[in-house]
Amino acid sequence: MSRYETNVVLYRLKKDEAFRDRFRAEPRSALAGADLTDEEREAFVRWDARKLNELGGSLHLLISIPGLSSH
């Protein structure tokens, strides 16, 4: 349902170094303002890339986030 928001967060993690640093330090806090379902939010917090991909997260974003890429 919030595929758009999931990918907006992924895109921001890829492009925004300060946001990425905040996410790596305090993922739950960094995502506080994001319009995610509980399932999506938990997948981000655990950094479960496969789950994020199954939930509609773009493969190309998931493999290209510096320090978090999964391939």
Partner: protein, 296 residues
């Protein structure tokens, strides 16, 4: 004695626009990437492909094109989910190489390349404006930079030679819903018509593929679909463009052939030309290819 047409008896004016070279190729031409992710046989295979693409570059440069149209896709490097153009023409006077700190390895491989390339503004504007007049709602970008999908093939083809003015053309290959294969072919036909109406000698390349990342599934990275790829290459050799434009989004998605849409734009531009295979290799993670079309 038969009357002589003003432009000679062969039916083609010297100042008439034409496509002088056409080719398509995989676009991660970076041995380290395959060495790390596939192993020595992946490295060797892409090195063989690179050698073929360099040879193709000599043929391309010999045609001395006024412009090089490059049909490729965005990997969520340029366009965000705020707006994803189905088909986009890069206009403006110049285009920058994408610079992104900590970029994925095959984009970092572009680091030593020139930071700016000229755009063939007149051809780009013609494709855009005549396209809109003809019913193609192309997006236009004045600022989108180029990632490996464009510059890995261009830099391999041209090496140290001067790159001609570019017309970058993006196809949305990865964000559902993508344009249809039929629509991509029609867009290519349009590019071919614009070239024919203009005064320029134009080279066209399409990049990407062959099959990889089936279903865009992280769990299926490492798989390709060689049966599908063999069929596609045979269809291109046979110039069976009806079969290629009949490919469905489902077929492209399941086989990991999303980037074939770029190639199908090129097919529209060169149809009914047949392809010649310069390289074909089944790596496992991705199948690699480089084809040229007989357009002369």
């Amino acid at each position: 004695m038969p009357p002589t047409l003003p432009w000679g008896t062969l039916g083609a004016r010297e100042d008439m626009g034409r496509i002088v070279y056409a080719a398509a190729m995989s676009h991660v031409l970076y041995p380290d990437y395959y060495g790390q992710n596939v192993g020595p046989h992946g490295r060797r295979m892409v090195e063989e492909l690179i050698a073929v693409v360099r040879e193709m570059g000599r043929s391309l440069a010999a045609t001395a094109p006024d412009a090089l149209v490059v049909i490729a896709d965005d990997h969520l490097n340029v366009f965000s989910f705020d707006a994803v153009p189905a088909l986009c023409v890069r206009v403006g006077r110049s285009v920058n190489r994408m610079i992104q700190p900590d970029a994925i390895e095959f984009d970092r491989a572009l680091d030593g390349l020139p930071e700016r390339y000229p755009v063939h503004e007149d051809l780009a504007n013609s494709i855009l404006e005549k396209g809109v007049q003809a019913g193609f709602d192309f997006a236009a970008s004045w600022s989108a930079p180029l990632d490996h999908a464009f510059l890995s093939p261009v830099s391999t083809l041209y090496g140290d030679r001067l790159v001609p003015p570019l017309v970058p053309f993006w196809v949305n290959c990865f964000v559902t819903p993508q344009p249809t294969a039929k629509r991509c072919f029609e867009a290519g036909r349009h590019i071919g018509r614009v070239v024919a109406e203009g005064p320029w000698k134009v080279a066209v390349i399409a990049t990407g593929g062959l099959s990889h990342f089936p279903e865009l599934s992280l769990a299926r990275i490492g798989q390709s679909d060689p049966v599908f790829d063999r069929r596609i290459v045979k269809l291109m050799e046979a110039a069976d463009h009806a079969a290629l434009t009949a490919l469905t989004a489902k077929e492209l998605h399941e086989s990991g052939s999303h980037e074939l849409l770029n190639w199908i734009v090129l097919l529209g531009a060169v149809s009914p030309a047949r392809a010649r295979v310069g390289f074909y290799g089944e790596m496992g993670r991705v199948d690699l290819a480089a084809l040229e079309w007989d357009v002369a």
